[in-house]
């Protein structure tokens, strides 16, 4: 039972853009891409389900403190990335 549960767990797949040990940019890129995807698909009026992939990857990769900090910055309008 534990074995099948373990087999169903997934994590972020290998990303050829970030092949080395430092995955900071991977986390940043997926966070920003998720919000860009949401904004773009909302503007078109389409269902934002494809953006789910980015959300899951950044949730796997990013430290929670970074995500909270960036969410606060987005709410204040001081987020440094371009969304």
């Amino acid at each position: 039972m534990l074995g099948t549960d373990l087999q169903n767990y997934r994590t972020a797949p290998f990303d050829a853009r970030f092949p080395n040990q430092n995955q900071t940019r991977n986390c940043w890129s997926n966070y920003v891409d998720f919000h860009r995807c949401q904004k773009a698909l909302d503007a078109k009026g389409v269902d934002t389900a494809p953006c789910e992939w980015y959300r899951r990857v950044y949730k796997s990769l990013c430290p929670m403190s970074w995500v909270q900090k960036w969410d606060d910055q987005r709410d204040e309008g001081t987020f440094p990335g371009k969304i």
Partner: protein, 85 residues
């Protein structure tokens, strides 16, 4: 500058055993400079022109290899899995 080269040339003629030293030191320095140049020009984290090329890591293909030697990673079998938007 050329007088320095003349002095070195004379020393080499008197001590030809020093020539391999020049070859190896020169080779090492060249390899360092070439790696620095590769980092400056090809590294996807480097952006010289921030206005026209703000995120150079997004220009890599999903199975494009940047590393010089990739052990245990078969880049030909990678599939593209990020959705477009």
């Amino acid at each position: 500058m050329s007088s320095m080269l003349k002095v070195v040339g004379k020393q080499l003629k008197n001590h030809p055993a020093l020539i391999p030293l020049f070859i190896f030191i020169g080779g090492g320095a060249t390899m360092s400079m070439m790696y620095l140049a590769r980092l400056a020009l090809k590294n996807p984290d480097v952006s010289w022109d921030r206005k026209n090329n703000p995120e150079p890591w997004n220009k890599l293909e999903h199975n494009q290899q940047y590393k010089l030697f990739a052990v245990n990673m078969d880049y030909t079998k990678l599939k593209k899995d990020r959705p477009d938007f």
